[in-house]
Every structure is written in C-alpha cells, then in structure tokens.
C-alpha cells in the first residue's frame, strides 16, 4: 500500500516547492532504547542506548552499565555480558522452540522487562532467480505456510554479504493461509557470480507488529497516519522491542 502513498507523495512533491525551516523541538528526558531479538542461533545479543536529540548526529549514548538477563520458564538464567558500546552478548546457548523467554534489564533505578516465545522454524523450499526482460531480476523465495494458524514473517536478502534492504520486508499469511507462498524480491542490478543469501524469519505476532510499525514509521511521509513510536512490548518505559525469530537460510550462487 505504500506504493499508493508513494505516488501521491510524488504528485504532491512535484507540484510543490520546498524549503528548509527551523522547528523548535522540545528536548525532555530521553528514554532508553532496547533492541533484542531471540533467535534459534547460538549467540543471543541485546543492544541498549539512550535516545538523543532530534537534530543530533549519529552519536547516541551507549548504555554500558546495565545488567541483562534472559530467563526461561524452567528457571534457567542466561546472563549477557557487555561486549562493547551498549552491545551485550550471551555465551553459546540455544533457545528452545515454543519456550517463553523473559528479558530483565536493570539500569540504575529502573527495571525493564519483556517476554517472547521462540516460534518454530519454517524452512525455505526453494530460492531461485528470474531475470526480467529489462535486466532487472526477481529473487524468489518459496515456502509453505502452516495450516490453521496465524503466521508472521520477515525476509532478508544479502548480495555478496551485503544486506539488501531499503525497507523492512514483513508479511502475514492473511492472503496465503496454509498455502505455498512465493515472495518476489526485485533487484535492479544483479550479476552472474553473485552470491545471494535469503533469510526467512518466522516471528511471533508482537515482533511482526513492531516491525510493521517500524516500517511505517521509517517510510512515513506525513501521508500515513499520525506519527507515533512503534509499540514496544517492554515494560518499564523503554523504547524498542524484545522479539524472536526462527531463521532459515538459503544460499544461491548465480551461474551462467
């Protein structure tokens, strides 16, 4: 749907003139931002920083003095330790599918908590590439949506190790419930010899909600709804999210 907004936006921007203005923006106590994604891969990590001034450059204050714990419902506790610049990592440890994991972060007087469940992995059936007449290409990722449940996904594409993501690719199975889905990822430039990696993330609903709101906020334009902060599942007044993703990966090397 963003395409419609995009075109209308183009119409408006083409017919209008624009200039830079100074807007006085208040600058209150800035909240903390927590970014954490539990995956089916061996190392878990959490990033914490303080949000900054609107006009500020990319220099957010890293939070290095927090205590970060992940606890499952059996009582197992994993302590994450500071790696660098607000980045905390666990030791090698694998999260269990279907298990609930609670995140607890203690920083100064504040405690932040959140929970998530690791969904099962959905396997990629096939990745192929279709070259269009205009030399652009579709990278196609095929997978089966499980029957009888709501499922949420995020897809990521890498070309020669670089993430190819001008926006977030998130989707729900509203129109393909229980069916085979082929996700077409269009690239303008692709070359023989390229290594293409596709990741299929199976995510819980709250992570989907966060990503889709984040996607809208990033793509924004005032043509979308009133601006807002993506809805966080973290209790205690922090921005960001504690999400989960079971990732499946497939690699394709383009050959002649």
């Amino acid at each position: 749907m963003h395409n419609i907004k995009y075109y209308i936006f183009v119409i408006i921007t083409l017919t209008s003139c624009k200039d830079k203005i100074q807007v006085a923006l208040q600058n209150d106590e800035q909240p903390i931002v927590i970014e954490g994604l539990l995956t089916n891969e061996p190392i878990q990590s959490i990033d914490i920083h303080r949000s900054g001034d609107f006009y500020e450059l990319d220099a957010y204050e890293a939070i290095n003095d927090a205590t970060v714990q992940i606890k499952d419902s059996t009582g197992l506790t994993i302590l994450l330790t500071l790696d660098q610049n607000g980045h905390y990592e666990s030791v090698a440890w694998t999260a269990q599918i279907g298990q609930e994991y609670n995140l607890t972060i203690q920083h100064k007087e504040e405690t932040y908590t959140a929970k998530t469940i690791l969904p099962k992995q959905i396997k990629i059936k096939e990745v192929d590439v279709k070259i269009n007449n205009d030399s652009s290409a579709y990278i196609r990722c095929k997978f089966e949506d499980p029957i009888g449940e709501q499922n949420f996904y995020r897809l990521r594409f890498y070309r020669n190790g670089d993430i190819q993501e001008s926006r977030l690719y998130v989707l729900r199975d509203l129109n393909f419930e229980g069916k085979t889905k082929i996700y077409n990822f269009k690239r303008e430039a692709i070359a023989y010899g390229d290594t293409i990696v596709v990741e299929l993330w199976h995510i819980p609903k709250h992570t989907y909600t966060y990503y889709s709101q984040l996607k809208e906020v990033i793509e924004q334009g005032l043509l979308s709804s009133v601006p807002y902060n993506p809805e966080s599942n973290i209790k205690g007044g922090a921005l960001g999210y504690w999400g989960a993703a079971s990732i499946d990966r497939d690699t394709l090397i383009l050959k002649l």
Partner: protein, 770 residues
C-alpha cells in the same frame, strides 16, 4: 413516539389560542425571471416598523389588523417592490415577483445572508452566486466553498484541501447536500476546487448551530447547495473561459412557460497544457476533472411543482503510466411539492448518491483497486402554517439506505484473483416534528424533536475482536438480517428575544447523531476515503451543541454586528490506533480507537452591506480538543483543525459603474501537528521519537487576494464581464506540510522541510451570457 404527538398537540393548542382578531397576508416571493423562490427576502411594514423574512421556499406570512399598509419586498441584488395593501375581512394572498437588478444599475453587495435575520426564520449563513461575483478567484474558478470560509465559524484545510471544518467539526461531520442528495467527496483535483461549479449554484447555505430538525445524520453542520433551475422565458447560453477551466450552460424553457431546465458542464484542461510539452513522459500524464449538472422544474398547476436535479463529476489522474486514480460523485434528487392550501405544503423527495474511486495500473501491473458507497433516500415533509407568522409546524420523516463497498483488489492473474472485502448495508430512518412560534411579541421560540433509528443489515461477514483486537469470530449474516441497532432522540431548541428592531439576543441547543464514519489515512483530501457504518464497536457519534448570541443591525448605517459564544461536546469520536492499517483491511474496526471531543469558541462579525464600499470583518477565537484513552493515556490534545485565531477581511469598492475592485485577506493559526522530540536507532535505522500528539503547530496561514472586474455594456441580450484576479498577492508560502527528511549530504542528520503548494497566481476569466 407518543411524546412527539403530545408535544405536537400542545403546539397546536398554543397556536389556536394566539391566533385571533388578525387577518392573514401571505404569499410567495419568487425571482421574476426564473420563478425560483427567494428565501430570506425581507418583507417590511413601515407603518408598524415591523418585518418578516421569507422562508426557504420563499413563503411569507404576516398577521395584521384591518387597515391599509404599505409593504416593502426586498432582497439583496433585486429591485425593491413597494405595494399598497388593504387588509379587510379575508385572508389575502399576494405573490411577489422580484426583478434582478441588471449590472447597469447594480448595487450588488457581498453579504453573508445571515442567521436569524430579523426574525427567527433562518439560521446559519448563506451565499448566492450574485453576491460573490466580484470577489477574487483562484485560476478563474470562483469557489463558493472557499469564499464561505471567509466568514465566521467556517474554516478550511490548507492549500490543497477542500476539507471544511465548521466550528471545530471534522470534514466528515458535515452533511453536504446538492439539492437534497448527499455528496460524499466535495472536492476536485486533490482539493484545489470544490465540485460545485459556482455558475449553477443559486444559493449555498450553512447551518452550524440550532440545526433544523428536518436534517440530521452528521455531527457538526449542514451545507446545502441549491442549484439554479433555469429560466422559463427563453433559450439562453452562458459560460466562461478561464486559464484552467471552461464552462458552458444551456437554459431550456419548457413549453407554455411551465418550467425550465438548466444543463451545465465544466472541464479543466490542465492536461491540454501538458500535451504541449516536449517531454514524452510528462506529456502522457492525464490530470483533469469534469462535471455535469442538470437542474429543472416543472409546474403542471399552480399548486404543484416538480423539481429534478443531478450532479455527475469525475476526476482522473494518470501518472507516468504507473499509477492512475479515478474518482467521482453522483447526486440526484427528484422532488414534488404540493400546496394543499395556503397553509399546508407537502414535500416528497427521492434522492440517490454514489461515490466511488478506482486505482489502476498499479505499478504498471494489471492490479486494480475499487471502492465506493451508494445511498438511496425517501423523505416526506409537511409544512403547516397554523397561524402565519406566529406559528408554524413542520413534520415528516424519511428512510435512507446505504451500501458500503469497502474495497476490492482485482488482479488479472490466474494464480491470484484478488479479493473483495464484504459489503455492508445500513438503514437509517427518522421522524421529526419542529415548530416555530411567537410566544410573546418580542420572543420567538423554535423547538423540534428528531428521532433516529439505525439498523445495520446483512448480508455481511461481521468480525468480532478479542481484547488484543485479534479476530475472535466471523459471523455471516444473511440478507436483510438486522445485526446492530442504535436509536436516539435529538432535541433542537432555539429562543430569540428581540427588544427592538435593532437588537436580537438568542440561545440555542441541538443534539446530533452520526451513523457513518470516515476513515481516511491521509492529511490530504484524498479520494481514497473509506466510509463505514456504525457497528457494535463503532458507536454513533453524538454532538451536543449550545450557543448564545447577540446581534445588532442598523439599517440607518447599513451595519451589522454579531457575536456568538458556542460550546460543543462530542462523543464516540473515531481515530486510528498507532500504526493502523486501514487500506483494504477487512478487519478495519480493529484499527480504530474511540474517544471524545470538545469545542468552545466565540465569533465576531462586523459587516457593511450597503453603499459603494462594502465588506466584512470576521474573527473567531476557538479551541477544539480530542481525548482518546489509547492515545497518550487520554490526555486532551488539540485536534488537527484546531484554529485558535481565524480572521478574514473582505472589502469591495465600486470605483465606477463598470469597475469593481475587491480584496480579501485571511489569517489563521497553523494546524496542530505532531513533531518529533528526539531520535534513536533501531534495526539499523534512525527513527524519530514522539512524546505527545499534536503538540506543535505548522506556521500560521495568511494570504491576500485581489480581484478587478469590468462589466461590459449590455448589448441586446449579450452580457459579459472580465475578471482579473491575483491569488496570494505577496506570494506567502503557506505550509502544506512539514516533513522530516534525511539530509542528503549527511544521512545521519534530519532536516525539517516545509512543502508549500501555491505561490502568487494571477488569472483572467471571461464570463458571458446571452
């Protein structure tokens, strides 16, 4: 129901008691040429220093003791008629035909025909086309809606929007009627022009306080456009050529002067300019709108009038063959008025409305999206002048059926045929009784009661949601099955005290119900609007509105001063939750949040309507707020259309019998908007942080326009004038929106970028008639 009957009987009784020893003088005031009734015309008795106004049908009633009177009939833009009348023992009927003043001797004044003029006969504001003839235009389009916004209480969206905000109401809370049929999207070209071609408008009326009981269904105001219905004496043509549109109208008289038909068309030709461009890509873009209107009347007998009217208009935009959008309205009315006798009038109306849009060539693909809404209505009203001028009773009722098509996606592919969101149907019925009476020589009372009944009807798929707004259940209702009912009683009361001819003090209360809700994703008046009926979760909007006013009118100085204090409480207002996805979403109701609103303000108007130099100054000080439990914990925040200050100055001077200069200046507080209070980084993206809703303002809006009109000498039947307008004389760059964009040189930095749509725009228009 029995309450209504009791009240009605009570009114009749009062009237019977008060109507004694007087004889009645009544009649209808019509335009001599068109035979169109003239509402709000003045009837003045010099001897008694007393006057009345004609009602919306041009009817007037006076009660007089025996004797001889000189009666003056007048209306702005028409020659005054003075008639000597002898009142003896019987009821006298005197129908008056007023002649339009020709341009040669013209003293047409720009005047907002106002609220409660001398009597309590009319409420609101109205404009006739003649009144705005000399005002400046935008690209040659004299837009009555835009001119209306220069008066009190009526405000407008920014440049590039025709959203009308009447006394803090949202644009969807206005009932827009073409004749008697609803118009759902009253704007062309992304809001630059209203769909009402001024050439075919006879009268445009606004009601925003003390609403008449025969109207309802919207929570803020009523805007009614009365079309011109042609002249019964001869064939004629009129039209205009402007920089962006051309208009042509044909007047067809019916045989034996029993009626007439006016057919009119208008088309914009911006796309023809595009065709002249060299750039192939730009040349193939399509941007145009057109509309056709038809309005006529037929009088088979002196007691019957049949009226028809129809509007059809469409807009089309095709952009780089990538994206096309096509939208439009249809509104048609068929009306039969029958006069049983001088006191009893029946009005029977059938209306049909349609609004739809289509989006094509979506990303050059065959995907199409379509959505729309249809409405059919039957209305019956009776007007009973029980004791003319002292006591009038109106009653009636209506049934309205709406069908909502929220959207379908059509794909021309075998693997994905697209999908359709289930249509919804709803029935709205009402009965009303309303009465206007003189309770004391100096007191007038208007009291009315309207009962509304709303039924949501199958067939549809109805979704229920759990506390997380997830679909819990889907219920398929069969055709005709009523699955949701709401009803409500809407009282309307007004009391006027007029100690002398010059002073008038009044107070009013109304309650309004609204059962349709507009869900629009954008800040722009886009045609992708989605209308929804009330349902289990979307409760009817309710407005309670109070106002208190004082008006001073001096005929001696030709001055009018008016001030009104108002307060409104709104219930069940609809907004979106954060991150709402409303486009083609079958579970739309899960995306909404509900809250309340309040509006309070004060209006001032100073007006000079006579002489070579005329004009007005209108000022409103107001506050419009909303509160939603799910938006920042229910904290009151200003609505987008909250305008603290709204000031307009309109001046017109007749330099010479043929030359008129007019100027308007308008100023208002900028819209309330949500700006970021900081930023942070997530998922590798820099994201803006928000800490309150609508806590900032875009820069204030102001604009100065000038218009110069030259009226050519009348040659036989050929009449024409030339208008030069300059829109936005000092090229104020009024803000359309502010976006926060990444700095191109430094992607880590955001800039606040202001977009403005219009700068200085001069235009020339030639209007003709023969």
């Amino acid at each position: 129901m029995s309450n209504i009957l009791t009240i009605a009987c009570f009114f009749v009784l009062i009237a019977r008691l008060s109507a004694q020893d007087f004889q009645v003088l009544s009649g209808q005031i019509v335009d001599a040429k068109t035979q169109e009734p003239i509402p709000f015309a003045n009837i003045w008795l010099d001897k008694l220093q007393k006057g009345v106004s004609s009602d919306i049908e041009g009817m007037y009633h006076l009660e007089l003791v025996k004797g001889e009177y000189s009666v003056q009939y007048s209306y702005v833009g028409y020659a005054t008629i003075e008639q000597l009348i002898k009142i003896d023992t019987s009821h006298q009927v005197l129908n008056i035909q007023l002649e339009l003043l020709s341009n040669e001797v013209d003293e047409i004044v720009v005047e907002a025909k106002d609220d409660l003029s001398k009597e309590a006969s009319s409420i609101g504001t109205s404009f006739s086309a003649a009144e705005i003839k000399n005002l400046p235009s935008l690209m040659g389009e004299k837009d009555m809606l835009k001119i209306a916004t220069l008066t009190n209480g009526i405000s407008m969206a920014n440049d590039g929007g025709t959203g009308l905000f009447i006394r803090g109401g949202n644009s969807d809370q206005n009932l827009v009627l073409f004749d008697e049929a609803t118009v759902y999207s009253p704007s062309h070209a992304l809001g630059f022009f209203s769909i009402f071609n001024t050439d075919i408008v006879s009268l445009m009326s606004f009601w925003y306080s003390g609403l008449p009981s025969q109207y309802g269904g919207r929570a803020s105001a009523i805007l009614q456009v009365d079309p011109k219905r042609g002249e019964s004496d001869q064939f004629g043509f009129s039209g205009s050529l402007g920089l962006i549109t051309a208009k042509l109208a044909i007047n067809i008289p019916l045989p034996k002067k029993k009626g007439a038909l006016l057919i009119s068309g208008r088309r914009s030709y911006l796309d023809l300019y595009l065709k002249m461009l060299k750039d192939e890509e730009l040349r193939n873009n399509e941007v145009y709108f057109y509309d056709l209107t038809l309005a006529g009347y037929y009088q088979p007998s002196s007691k019957d009038v049949l009226k028809i009217s129809g509007y059809y208009g469409r807009d089309r935009v095709l952009f780089f063959e990538n994206f096309g959008i096509d939208w439009g309205n249809l509104a048609a009315t068929l009306q039969w008025n029958h006069l049983f006798n001088d006191q009893f009038l029946s009005k029977t109306m059938l209306t049909y409305s349609n609004f739809d849009y289509k989006i094509e060539r979506f990303n050059k693909s065959n995907t199409r999206i379509a959505a729309g809404l249809q409405e059919g209505q039957f209305k019956q009203e009776f007007h009973y002048q029980i004791a003319p001028d002292k006591y009038e009773l109106k009653f009636g009722g209506g049934v309205l059926f709406r069908r909502f098509e929220p959207g379908k996606l059509i794909k021309n592919s075998d693997t994905n045929p697209g999908f359709t969101i289930a249509a919804k149907q709803a029935l709205e019925s009402n009965v009303f009784v309303s009465s206007r009476m003189q309770i004391q020589p100096k007191f007038n009372l208007r009291i009315g009661l309207r009962y509304n009944l709303f039924n949501a009807l199958g067939p549809t798929d109805y979704y229920t949601f759990d506390e997380y707004l997830e679909v819990e259940d889907t219920i398929a209702y069969k055709a005709g099955k009523v699955y949701q009912t709401y009803h409500g009683l809407a009282p309307r009361v007004g009391l006027w005290y007029q100690p002398t001819e010059e002073h008038n003090v009044y107070g009013m209360y109304s309650r309004l119900y609204q059962y349709v809700h507009l869900v629009s994703s954008a800040t722009v008046g886009l045609p992708t609007d989605l209308w929804l009926p009330s349902s289990q979760s979307v409760r009817p909007q309710i407005t309670d509105e109070w106002s208190l006013g004082y008006k001073f009118m001096s005929d001696k100085w030709g001055l009018e001063l008016k001030t009104e204090l108002y307060f409104k409480l709104l219930q069940n207002q609809v907004d979106y939750k954060n991150g709402a996805n409303i486009f083609l979403n079958p579970y739309i109701e899960s995306q909404l949040v509900y809250g309340k609103g309040r509006v309070y303000g004060v209006d001032f108007l100073l007006k000079k309507a006579q002489g070579k130099f005329t004009g007005w100054l209108a000022y409103t000080l107001a506050k419009t707020e909303r509160s939603f439990p799910k938006i920042y914990e229910g904290k009151w925040f200003p609505a987008t259309q909250d305008r603290t200050h709204d000031l307009s100055i309109v001046l017109q001077y007749k330099i010479h019998p043929r030359w008129t200069i007019a100027t308007t200046w308008t100023y208002r507080t900028g819209d309330a908007v949500t700006y970021p209070s900081g930023s942070y980084k997530i998922d590798g993206h820099r994201v803006l942080l928000f800490s309150e809703r609508n806590g900032h303002r875009i820069p204030d809006y102001h604009r100065w326009d000038i218009g110069l009109t030259y009226d050519f000498k009348l040659k036989k039947r050929f009449q024409s004038d030339f208008n030069l307008s300059i829109y936005n004389v000092y090229a104020r760059r009024n803000t359309f929106m502010v976006l926060f964009e990444e700095n191109k040189n430094n992607p880590n930095q955001f800039d606040a970028v202001r977009y403005s749509l219009t700068t200085i725009i001069p235009s020339l228009t030639w209007n003709f008639k023969f």
